[in-house]
């Protein structure tokens, strides 16, 4: 382009390189900002990835290196087959337990809770959006359960869930069960599902539904053949969001499980705490734990795009 300017020094060609230089600087600046932001967000992930391949001697090494000097996959194999590392400490913290049961628990609890939460939230949102069920403040009131620090519910729920004094208060026998966590997760996320899907349903013009009704369709038919396909992308986005919430939930999983219903986030916490410092396996499990979310996000990516552009449905 600079060449063009030299060989044909007309007004336009003189102006062009100057403009493109400005554009070039702009592109460079944008790129720098993007890289800067990417580093801020990605560095912890890269760090975790790095540690997950480091031998114990490098975990706390100073100065730290991003690339492991002696990379190994022992941290990953340890997760599934811990053997008997460092004896008593590992047994005490739970690090000696293989991670498969926790993964299976999480892979059941999170998806099931998510699906029910989204279904219930969607139907509730439809009722609120179209029929104003419960009045104008209903959607707001559904948020009241989110207005307290969640841990405030821990003790009352614990009373419900467990047999406090078996002969007097039998309880629901949901302590340390998958069903217990599933119910809890549905209860805590359904308000989010309602609010998110309500936004998408509100975006579907009433006239489209009325047209279907005048064509003879029942409300249920309208809901499933007209409204649902139109908010499909929104439902995908909501599903992903709620799946992330339930997949990574730690506090209640920690309080309400002990042995049988332990989830991945709880298992992650077993490797490093007041005692025990299995940073390598912990990082390895962190990487593995993020995979389902990454995969789910990738699979529904196409729907996410349509979901977010469907805010622009034509009236």
């Amino acid at each position: 382009m600079a060449e063009t300017a030299v060989t044909t020094p007309t007004v336009t060609s003189v102006a062009r390189p100057r403009l493109s230089a400005r554009a070039w600087v702009g592109t460079l600046l944008r790129l720098l900002v993007a890289v800067g932001i990417a580093i801020v967000f990605l560095l912890p992930v890269l760090w975790m990835l790095s540690i997950s391949f480091k031998p114990p001697t490098e975990w706390l090494e100073y100065p730290p290196t991003l690339i492991p000097k002696e990379p190994l996959i022992g941290n990953y194999t340890f997760l599934f087959n811990p053997g008997n590392p460092e004896g008593a400490i590992a047994v005490m913290t739970g690090a000696a337990e293989p991670v498969m049961p926790a993964f299976i628990n999480s892979l059941i609890i999170a998806p099931v809770a998510t699906v029910f939460s989204v279904i219930i939230g969607f139907l509730a949102a439809y009722a609120v959006s179209r029929f104003r069920v419960g009045g104008n403040f209903m959607p707001f009131f559904t948020l009241t359960t989110r207005m307290f620090p969640p841990v405030a519910f821990a003790v009352p729920l614990l009373v419900y869930y467990s047999a406090v004094i078996p002969s007097v208060i039998p309880g629901l026998r949901l302590y340390d069960t998958r069903l217990g966590l599933i119910l809890m997760y549905i209860a805590f996320t359904v308000a989010f599902a309602l609010w998110m899907t309500k936004g998408f349903i509100d975006g579907v013009p009433r006239h489209i539904e009325e047209a279907a009704i005048l064509d003879g369709a029942s409300r249920w038919r309208v809901l499933f053949t007209i409204t649902l396909p139109l908010v499909r992308g929104g439902l995908a986005a909501t599903t992903l969001f709620i799946f992330i919430l339930t997949w990574t939930e730690f506090l209640f999983a920690l309080i309400f499980t002990q042995r049988y219903a332990i989830t991945v986030p709880v298992q992650v916490s077993h490797y490093a705490g007041a005692i025990g410092r299995f940073y390598g396996p912990q990082a390895a499990l962190g990487i593995l734990a993020s995979l389902p979310v990454v995969i789910a996000g990738y699979l529904i990516q196409r729907h996410l795009v349509t979901g977010f552009t469907f805010g622009l449905i034509r009236e």
């Binding site: 013009p205 006239h207 489209i208 009325e210 047209a211 279907a212 009704i213 005048l214 064509d215 003879g216 369709a217 029942s218 038919r221 007209i226 396909p229 139109l230 449905i313 034509r314 009236e315």
Partner: protein, 371 residues
């Protein structure tokens, strides 16, 4: 033309939204096969009335009858009426074929018959080429035709249309208007057409219902409405530019009945009885159409007393000019042929023939019937 049997009857139909009256007790007989237009400014209740007929709004009071059957509480699915929405309300996620087939699928028709009927209606509306396309990708005119086709395919008894031409640019609008009218003539089906565009209503409607503030101002043929507006509102709403209104005193001088405003005088002896019977307090509002004020040069002899005015403004249009003439404290809008030569600032003598006057009572705002 039409079998004079009412297909839809509204009796004292009323709708309030949170205490605001949208439709204030409407009585109407819609005749079989007619093209009836609801005309009025936005918020006058015309769309609400249409939606109540369709069953999309529940009336606060009153009854709706379809062929003599009370349908006030019947759900919209069971009324068998077609509705075309202002913005078409197509099923954007479906193909044109699926849009057209929707009503038939809902009725559980066999796929072969659905396909045959969709193809037939697509041929009639020139949609064959786009049957496989997503509805969201169509151009406006095709969307409008899909909306019509989707409604027509279930063969509704009455077609209700809510400003379906609103989104069209002016040139296309006239074309679509003619298309719609032709379609209605071919189908011979009753149509109720809501619009705020007087030109649309007056060119398409067999009858026009003029509404304002939830009430009926006038129901009549386009000719009746333009030539004999029943109220001040109708007279001011219809016509472009609208009618000139001049408040005038009524008095008897030497055996002649006169209306007078400043230097303007009309001799209304001929209608003396009618005026005195209908006038409330000795005052009348005189309405004069912009085409009923004639420059003296264009008037035939003896059309009335010439009146001297000053030309304040000349607005040339394609075939005519709109003049604003100053007389006393009045500014009169007058339409003259485009060939008529006149400059702003000139003096111009005009006549206002008494036979072209419309008289209104200032209290009731109703027309004073002269015959």
């Amino acid at each position: 033309m039409a079998d004079p049997l009412p297909i839809i009857q509204l009796r004292n139909l009323r709708k309030e939204f949170n205490g605001t009256v949208a439709v204030a007790g409407l009585d109407l007989d819609v005749l079989e096969g007619e093209f009836l237009c609801f005309l009025g400014p936005s918020g006058c209740g015309k769309t609400t009335t249409l939606r109540m007929i369709a069953g999309l709004e529940t009336p606060t009071a009153g009854e709706i009858y379809l062929r003599g059957q009370r349908i006030t509480d019947l759900p919209p699915q069971q009324r068998g009426l077609g509705f075309v929405f202002q913005n078409y309300a197509l099923f954007w996620h479906m193909t044109v074929f699926d849009n057209l087939a929707f009503g038939l699928k809902v009725r559980g028709l066999p796929p072969a018959e659905i396909e045959a009927r969709v193809k037939e209606i697509a041929r009639g509306l020139e949609l064959e080429a786009v049957l496989g396309q997503r509805a969201a990708r169509l151009d406006l005119s095709a969307m409008q035709r899909v909306a019509m086709g989707r409604t027509l395919i279930t063969q509704p008894q009455v077609l209700l249309l809510d400003e379906p031409l609103n989104n069209f640019r002016p040139g296309l609008r006239e074309i679509m208007r003619a298309e719609l009218k032709r379609l209605q003539l071919n189908l011979g089906r009753t149509m109720i057409y809501v619009t705020h565009d007087q030109e649309e209503a007056l060119t398409m409607g067999d009858r026009v219902l003029v509404m304002n503030a939830g009430r009926v101002e006038q129901l009549g043929t386009p000719r009746e409405i333009t030539e004999h507006p029943a109220s001040l509102f109708v007279a001011s709403f219809i016509g472009r530019p609208p009618m000139n209104f001049i408040p005038a005193d009524y008095r008897i001088e030497g055996g002649r009945a006169l209306l007078r405003h400043g230097s303007l005088t009309w001799d209304v002896t001929l209608w003396r009885q009618a005026i005195e019977a209908q006038m409330r307090n000795g005052q009348v509002i005189v309405g004069v159409g912009p085409a009923d004020i004639l420059p003296l040069a264009l008037a035939s002899h003896g059309e009335g007393e010439p009146l001297r005015t000053q030309v304040d403004l000349v607005q040339p249009l394609a075939r005519q000019k709109i003049l604003e003439l100053k007389v006393d404290d009045l500014l009169l809008k007058v339409v003259v042929p485009g060939t008529f030569q006149v400059q702003a600032g000139e003096m111009l003598d005009v006549v206002m023939p008494s036979r072209a006057l419309h008289l209104f009572d200032p209290l009731t705002e109703k027309a004073i019937l002269l015959y």
